[in-house]
């Protein structure tokens, strides 16, 4: 360690203290506005409640059928009912599948056998995206992952759907 005294010049001292005090004031001024602005990112995402979609389980076949229902959406200070839809069917293991109709390419709406040229597939009219019946995207078409799958449960013989979950890449 050097014995030499570290000299702090008057100019340096003033620079440090003024920058420090100024920074402290600016931080004090900005911290609340910034915390408020980024609040939407930090809010926990809603758990996603299950809604009765008005389809009896016994009516679900191996042929995908479209169901539409409404959910209560709370958007900040605005509450409204918004439409949801799903393609529901039973797969070969007799499990209920409820696929989101939102194309995983750019978000258009897909339909079961939406194109006469591609039977037994989901088809997106925007860029000819295609999916197999289980929602898996067909290689060589624009979508990059399978159609999202709704959480579902059965109560009193009726189908309830929750949140659409992203599935892994095909």
């Amino acid at each position: 360690m050097s014995e030499e005294k570290q000299q702090v010049s008057r100019r340096q001292f003033l620079n440090y203290t003024l920058t420090g005090v100024g920074g402290f004031m600016a931080a004090g001024l900005l911290i609340s506005p910034i915390r408020m602005a980024i609040d939407p990112v930090l809010k926990p995402s809603s758990a996603g409640e299950y809604a009765n979609v008005g389809l009896a389980v016994e009516d679900i076949t191996t042929e995908p059928q479209r169901v539409d229902w409404k959910i209560d959406q709370v958007d900040g200070w605005y509450e409204s009912k918004v439409n949801r839809s799903a393609w529901v069917f039973k797969n070969e293991n007799d499990e209920i599948m409820a696929l989101s109709p939102t194309c995983t390419h750019l978000g258009c709406v897909v339909s079961w056998e939406g194109s006469e040229d591609h039977p037994n597939e989901f088809f997106c009219p925007c860029h000819d995206g295609r999916y197999y019946k289980d929602g898996t995207n067909i290689a060589g078409t624009p979508p990059t992952r399978p159609l999202d799958l709704y959480d579902h449960k059965v109560e009193n013989g009726m189908l309830y759907l929750g949140k659409a979950q992203v599935r892994g890449e095909a």
Binding site: L29, L30, I31, S32, P33, R35, M36, A37, D39, L42, G76, W77, Y78
Partner: protein, 224 residues
Amino acid sequence: MLQKIYDWIDERIDITPIWRDIADHEVPEHVNPAHHFSAFVYCFGGLTFFVVVIQILSGMFLTMYYVPDIENAWKSVYYLQTEVAHGQIVRGMHHWGASVVIVMLLLHTLRVFFQGAYKKPRELNWMVGVLIFFVMLGLGFTGYLLPWDNKAYFATQVGLEIAEQVPFIGEYLKTLLAGDAEIVGAQTLTRFFAIHVFFLPAALFGLMAAHFILIRRQGISGPL
């Protein structure tokens, strides 16, 4: 690092003289509280500016949540106050700052008045200052309506009737402000919002620039 970035820019566009011109100037002894404590009265102008900066910043952030619509204005303010983290603090800054800015402005005006600092050659700057005062009152009046609660609504109704008392043009003035001859409602709220966040701040910036350029040109008035 910062020094290098600064040097890189300065080498190309020579910014040092620009900020020197703004920041580097003598502060006369008679306005420096370190020499005479009573010189703190010279701080009120700067404090007014500081609070105005707080108002601008907090106001910018508040418009992220606020909607100037009679259905949603109150709800959006309520949401901001109760559901958004720190929303209460930011609205508090804007609410209390609005009062503090008027207080500081009055103290600044009183100092200039009782020191006679408005006298020749500074009459022009006094006039600019009075215009700033009016713009501030306008900001206070228009901002008061925005939460769209009972207090805001009835205060604005009274304010509009005061405007109506102006001879000859009173009724037109009231309609112009309220957006409707009879109703204080949807069109009043959008008008007040536009005046509060666009028209008056624009006027305020212009006037403040003139105020500061004049004080730099003419210098601070001499000691008493």
